[in-house]
Amino acid sequence: MRQSQFEYRYRPLWERLEVTLKGLEGMGRPPADNLASFAADYQSLCHQLALARERGYSLTLQNDLNDLMLRAHRQLYRHRAPLLPRLAAFFARGFPQAVRRQWRWHLVSTLAFVLSALLVWGLIQHDPELVHTVVGPDQVADLEEMYHPDLRDTGDRDRADDVMMFGYYIYNNIGIAFRTFAGGLLLGVGALLAMLFNGSFFGAAAAHLSLVGASQPFFTFVIAHGAPELTAIMLAGGCGLRLGWSVLAPGSWSRVDALRRAAGECLPVMYGVFVLLVIAAFIEAFWSSRELAPQIKYSVGAACWGLLMLYLFLAGRRHGPE
């Protein structure tokens, strides 16, 4: 069969597919008949493309058919599942299960944070001047101004400031968590450094403020939002380390495949990290900044930690993995 006869015979089918595809790609609804025959049309298009190549029809025709097939392929294999039930199942089971599946990595990242914090805390208790090796002079002044009972001004903070700080916590903290995760891809170094640095900074700030007699304002401020915030940072660090390790020691997989698998398994945890940090930003902006009795603040903080740990350790244990 000559090319023009071939084109003449199948052109109507290609035009029908074109109409269907335009509809599926979101430019108007395709007619119902077209949809019913879409899969069959696609299959015969595959056949015609193979014929066109085998018979040596012109490259233009081959390319046109290839493009049409590519578009049809993209529509046919598109995956759309209902969102809300999946979200509910994810937070009821999927997220804590995903965290527990890679608990070793989260343990490593938590240890990196806690040990560096304790080390710096101990060193500063021993020699208070050491705080300046970790925290810059401006930051020391900022910390004292924020938490020291004699220096800080608490009267003029209003709702607008809370909203502004909420935006800042979203921008800053979630950015840090995402960067920690991505930094892990550089052989784990980025994630590890982020954990060590954040741990040291936290240790230094806590030690310094307790030495200048501001530990109560500091801890009443951080205890509640610290639960979701610190947990989320540890989880992001753990995911980053897992990514880096998958490239360093892929085991029986190729490095790329190991990376792909690790990224796939870390992603559910990163969804959770995002949500935890949004919750943390809410608590930090609208609750932690309230001036309340320390007993209330400590009990709410303890409840936050307790609930979060119960959730991460126990939720979804009775269900099998998804």
């Binding site: 233009t60 930094g183 796939g264």
Partner: protein, 230 residues
């Protein structure tokens, strides 16, 4: 073996799908466009927000966060793998098997962007892209995605004309492809160049006659109506 920028995928239907991969230059241009658009959005929205004091500044920071991390994800989901910059450069992101980009794929490739940015100006991503056989940066490798040209550059139609004649030699498949390619590309060539090419096919003829003969044979192969033996 052919060395080109085509990615060939065998689909479950047994057909072979060819994608043309996009290199660093069009991708960098698309990124530049997106960056400019993000800056513009931020600037335009910041003017009313700045007048609102603390609330406005908080909203501005949230917007900055969203634009930095979720601008590409949002548009890649909305427009099937294309951000405005990619749309302008006629690029799209698809998975390595030719399937459309999923939310997870888009998130992975965009969250890991920071690693590609390291240490400055996408140096890591650029080097990885040059090493990778499918022109993928780190984020693409982890998400199993490729950036492709859609649609490939526009192609010429065969020139119209009358009369055809059967070739006087047994036609191989390669001959056929060359003749068809000639008839499609001839409109873009000068008359002199066309005659020069025609003389390669029919060296015994004068240039004008050789070109006329070549056109007639090409029309025969194309199967144009109006003359010649089918």
């Amino acid at each position: 073996m052919r060395i080109d920028d085509q990615l060939h995928i065998d689909t479950p239907e047994g057909a072979r799908l060819s994608l043309s991969l996009a290199g660093p230059i069009p991708r960098a241009l698309a990124y530049g466009l997106d960056l400019a658009l993000r800056g513009l959005i931020l600037f335009l929205v910041s003017i009313p927000l700045m007048l609102m004091g603390g609330h406005g500044y908080g909203a501005y920071l949230v917007l900055m966060f969203l634009l930095e991390w979720f601008y590409p994800v949002f548009f890649e989901m909305l427009w099937q793998g294309r951000t405005p910059g990619k749309r302008a450069m006629k690029l799209a992101v698809v998975h390595g098997n030719g399937a459309p980009l999923t939310l997870n794929g888009s998130l992975v490739r965009n969250l890991l962007r920071t690693a590609d940015l390291f240490p400055i100006a996408y140096l890591t991503g650029f080097v990885v892209m040059l090493i990778s056989p499918r022109l993928q940066r780190l984020g693409d490798l982890a998400a199993d995605t490729v950036v492709i040209h859609v649609p490939p550059p526009a192609r010429a139609r065969p020139e119209p004309g009358e009369g055809s004649e059967a070739p006087d030699w047994p036609l191989s498949r390669d001959d056929q492809l060359v003749l068809l390619a000639f008839s499609e590309r001839a409109p873009g060539l000068s008359r002199q160049r066309q005659e020069e090419l025609a003389r390669l096919a029919f060296p015994e003829q004068p240039p004008a006659a050789a070109l006329e003969k070549l056109r007639r044979v090409a029309r025969h192969v194309l199967g144009a109506p109006g003359g010649g033996q089918p």
